[in-house]
Amino acid sequence: MPDSDRPAFAIRKTRTRFLGLTMDECIQAFFGGNALVAVLVLGLITVFLFREGSGFFKQNQSNIEVYRTAGLEYVDHLKRQEADHTALTRYLFDLRVRVFKHHTEVEGATLGEANQQLIAFDDYSYDFGDTVEPLREAVYDLSESVTATKTRMLVNEDRLVERQQLRDAGAVEAAEAVVIEEIDLVAARQPLLAFRPVYGQINGQFAASLLSVLAAEAPAMPTAELEARFTRFHELVEQYIDGFPTVEAALNTWDPNEPIPTWKSWTSFITGERWLTASFWQDWYGVLPLLTGSLMVSMVALIIAVPLGVGAAIYVNQLASVREQNIIKPCIEFISAIPSVVLGFFGIAVLGQAIRIISQWDWLSWVPGFPVVERLNALTAGVLLALIAVPTIFTLAEDALQNVPRAFKEASFALGATKLQTIIRIVIPAALSGIISAVLLGLGRVVGETMVVLLCAGNRIAIPDFTTGIAAFTQPVHTMTGIIAQEMGEVVQGGIHYRALFVVGIVLFFIALFINFMAQKIVQRYRISIG
C-alpha cells in the first residue's frame, strides 16, 4: 500500500479553504478589517473636513476684495467715526441716568422735579447729539451708493457661475443668454472720490461744532464724582476730535485697486473679532468671539468639574465603604447617561433662573457680575457643562487611583502613615498623571459639547467685555460648536458661510486632537513611572 510509505502522522495542510484562505486567516482578516475601518473613518472625516473647509480662504479673500473694490471699506471709516460719536452720546445718557438717580434717591426729589433740574443737561446733550448730523447724512448717501455697487458685483458673480454651470451642462445657447452687466467701477466710485474735499469741510465743521459745545456753559453736576465723570467726557471728546485727521488721511489714501494679500484672509479669520453673517453691509468671519466663548465656558466647567470629579473619585476609591461606593458610583455614572438636550432644558428652565435669583440677593452683591443681567450666559452654560465633565473625570480618575499598586499603600501604612497621609503623599502623586489626563479628556468632552451651550450660553456673538474683569463670565457668549449647529442648517452649500463653518469645525478638530494627544502622552509617562 502506498500509504505505508508515509509517516504515521499527516503533515500536509488539509484544512478547508475559502477564497484560498484558511479559517484562521479569514478570522484574522475579519479582525484586521474592523481595525482598519476605524483608521479609514478617521481619515475620511479629516479629508472631508479639509476638502469642505479649504475653499474658505479663497472665498474670504474675494469677499474682502469686493469690500474694498465696491468702496465699503471707504465708507466704513466714516461709519466708525459716526459710531464713536454714538458711543459718546451713550456716555452722556449714562451720566444722565446717574444724575437723575442722585436727584431722586439722594435728594428725594420727585420725578418731575428731577427732570426739571436736568433741563440744562438735556439741552447740552441735544446740542452734542446734533453735531453729527451732517456726517450722518453723508454716510447715509454714500452707503446707498456703495451697497448698490456691491449688489451689482455680487449679482454678476452669481450670473458668471450660472453661465458656467449651463455651459458645463451643454446648454451653450442658454449660457450665452445670461446677461452679464458691465459695471463701470470708475463711475460707481465717482461719488466716493468726489466726497473727499466735501469731507474735509464737513469734518472741519463737525470739529468746530463739537468744540463750541464743549466751550458752552456746562450743566452743573451735583456731586464731585459726577463732576469727574463729566470732565472725563470732555477728555474723551477731545481725544475723539484729535482722531479726525487720521480718518481724513485714511479716506484720502484709500486705493480701491490695492490688492488684498493672501494672509489677510487668514488673519481676518483667526484674529477677526466679528462673526457677522447674512448682513446687509458686509459679512465678517472672525473666529475670535466663538473661540473666546468656547474657552470661557470650558474654563468655568473645568473649575467646577475638576474638584468635584477628582474629589469624588478620591473619596469613592480610597475612603468610602462598599455600601457608599455602590450608591455613589452609579449615580455619578448615570449623569453621563442624561441626554445633553435634557440638561440644556434644565439649564434654561431651572439653573438660569436660579442663578439670576441668587445673584439678586443683597448679601451676594460683592460677587463680580452679580446681579446677572442675562439669564443665559457663560456661567450658566459652564455650570451645566461641568455636570457633563464630572462623570468622565470621575471615572478616569478613579481608574487611575485604582491602578496605584496596593503595595505602595501597604508600605506607607506599615511606616505608620494614616489613611489621609497615605492618600495625599502616596496615592495621589502616583496617580497624578492619570488624574491629569482624566481632566484633559474631561476638557475634550466639554469643548466638543454642543447642545448645552447652544441652549444655555446666551448665543450672543461678541467678545465679552473683559474690562469688567471676572464679571465677563456672566455675559452671554456663543461657541464654536454652537455656531456650527445653529447655522449649518441655513447656509448655501458651497457658499462662503458654509465653508467658514467647516473651518470652525477644523479648528475644533485640532483642539480636540491636541487635548487627546496630550492626555495620551501623559498616560504613557504614567505607565512608565509606575513600572
Binding site: 505602595f408 501597604e410 508600605a411 501604612f413 506599615a414 511606616l415 505608620g416 502613615a417 502623586p429
Partner: protein
Amino acid sequence: MSAHTLMEITPTTFAPPIADKPAQADSEVHQTLIDIANLDFFYGETKALHDISLKIPEKEVTAFIGPSGCGKSTLLRCLNRMNDLIDIARVDRGTIRIRDIDIYQPDVDVIELRKRVGMVFQKSNPFPKSIYENITYGLRLQGVSAKSRLDEVVERSLRGAALWDEVKDRLHESGLSLSGGQQQRLCIARAIAVEPEIILMDEPCSALDPIATARVEELIHELKSKYTIVIVTHNMQQAARCSDRTAFFYLGRLVEYADTQTIFMKPSDAQTEAYVSGRFG
C-alpha cells in the same frame, strides 16, 4: 527524590550555619518581647489561625515556616495589625502582647504601633519617589523636616541596610531604578529609618536571585543586634541559615516551636520532621 537522599543531604547543607551559631545558652537570656496567647483569627467565616500561643524573644531572629496557606503570613500581619486593612479580617479570641501591651485593645494607636513594628514585604515596593524620599518618608510623616537630621538618617539607614556604598552618589534618582535586590534592601532601609523595635519580614527574598538573597540574609544577621526580627519564609535553608528560633505552622495551627537547631535536627513532631526533610510542602 527519595526521602533517603534528602535525609543524607540535610546535615551537610544545614550544618555549617547552625554550627556557626553562638552557644544556645546565649539566646536563653533574651527576654520575651512578643507574647501571643490563644489567638484565633478569621477571614470572614474561615478560621485562619487556631489557638496560636507563641513567645518571641527580643533581639533574635524568629522564622515562621510552613506550607502555603498555613497562616504564617497572617500571623505576621497580626503583629502590626496590617490585617486591619482587610474588612473581613478579625481577631476572634486571644491576645498579642508586645512589651505587655495588648495591641488589639481599642485604645491602642495603630499608627504608633506600626512605627514600632516595621515591615518588609514579599515584593519589594519602594515608592515611585527618589531613594532619599523613600527613606525619609516615615520621618516626614512624623513631622521631621530638618535637612541635617534627614541627611543623617538617610546615611545611617542606608549603611544599616548595606546599601550606602552602592547608592550614595544617586540618592535623588528614583527608587524604582535600582535592581531587585537593591530595592529590597532599600525597603529594609526605609523600615529601619523610623527606628522600630521589631521588623517583620514577609518572605523578603522570594523574588530575589541567590546572590541578592545572600546579601539580604547577611543583613538580617547584622540587624539582629539591634532589632527583633520575625521572618516568614518558604525557604527552609534560609530559615536554618538565619534564624535563632523557628515556628512550624500547618493548616492554621502552630505545630512546633523551638530553637532552629532542634526543629531541623531533632524535631519532636512527625509533621515537622516530614516538612523540614522535604517530604511534603
